[in-house]
Symmetry: C2
Subunit: 193 residues, 2 copies
DNA sequence: TAACTATACGGAGACATTCTCCGTTTATCA
DNA sequence: TGATAAACGGAGAATGTCTCCGTATAGTTA
């Protein structure tokens, strides 16, 4: 509690640590894509050419690793919302973003489990991402409500939860099509009279 | 292929086998409710007072056990559809059954994973249940389509997938309420103009 | 009732995976 | 060019899955 006041001489993070972290992320991404997010962590470590201890030091739990692997993708999704907001009228922007959301689940292998954990789970690990996603869809929805296009007495995240449930199925193109039709149904259902 | 023609002297199933099966199912149900469907199978066997071999002989895989535990519940859900069809006009019956579906997910601890595997998964183990559920919701939807209440160019199972995704959240009452509101949105979205 | 035998039992153990601990190595900084 | 904080690696403990096979027993038959 005492000598905390001198963060002056903070060491530069070690180069090997940074390198290993990147290697682990790359290896893990490949492994998750190939074998689902249940891939063996020890094997990932071995493939990445590091010891198991190193993997667990960087990512204490499986979830931490999964989250790190997909954080980037999630951020892209969040960023897209701004772009769509500028390009389209409220309801169209919302619709386009939902389509994008479905695309992500259907396309990026492994994305389902993560997005589901983010929008649906309770794990604290994803709470940061959950807040981001909530704000993102929240803004899109609010805008459409303000413009009197829709009415929605539902947590906007529930729209994503519903879509995730449908888009998942087998990750095949069938699920994607179904989810896109569901978007129209949902929008029709929340449209202001 | 030869001597199949004489199933005359079929032995009565052994009493201990039947007894152990029941004990395992009871123990497993409790374990799944307490620890989720990832509970240790060896521990279930031990608690039930049988060897691991006995458990695996009766239920070769975890899924087989899970399926057996919840088969009964699923059958109740299927049966309810008939009752509702007799009691209510088409759209109301559909709506009531969807409410029941949500109730099951929210109430029966552990039901989520199973219902999700049934309506959403691809595992062959659940294919029988999946067909049943598909027929059940299919009949309810068809009836409402025929009476010109709704139009639906979507696999009716997708309605369940969407609801399952929302009702799950934390299994708390919040998810249940949200799912019920989603039912209204969905019905509004598929209502014929 | 007493063999007989198909059926089921139990649990040791092979194997896989997760995760920790700690002696050794190495990158940074002075 | 040391000194040392930071990071490494991998053995191994803990836990879980699933199989194998010698043993026990319920049902059948004489």
């Amino acid at each position: 509690m005492a000598d905390k006041g001198k963060p002056a001489a903070v060491r530069k993070p070690r180069a090997d640590a940074k390198r290993n972290r990147v290697r682990l992320l790359e290896t893990a991404k490949a492994a998750f894509a190939a074998k689902g997010s249940g891939a063996s962590l020890d094997e990932i470590a071995r493939t990445a050419g590091v010891g198991a201890g190193t993997l667990y030091r960087h990512f204490p739990t499986r979830d931490a690793l999964v989250e790190a692997v997909y954080r980037n993708e999630t951020e892209q999704l969040v960023a897209a919302a701004d772009r769509l907001t500028k390009l389209h009228p409220p309801l169209t922007a919302l619709r386009e973003w939902l389509l994008l959301f479905v695309d992500y689940i259907a396309t990026k292998h492994g994305m389902y489990e993560v997005l589901n954990a983010i929008v649906g789970g309770t794990s604290d690990l994803y709470s940061a991402s959950r807040v981001q996603m909530k704000q993102t869809i929240g803004r899109l929805v609010d805008r459409a409500v303000t413009s009197a296009d829709i009415r929605l007495d539902l947590d906007p995240l529930d729209l994503l939860r519903a879509l995730a449930g449908v888009a998942n199925i087998g990750s095949g193109p069938e699920g994607e099509r179904a989810a896109k039709r569901l978007i129209d149904i949902l929008i029709a259902g929340i449209r202001a009279p």
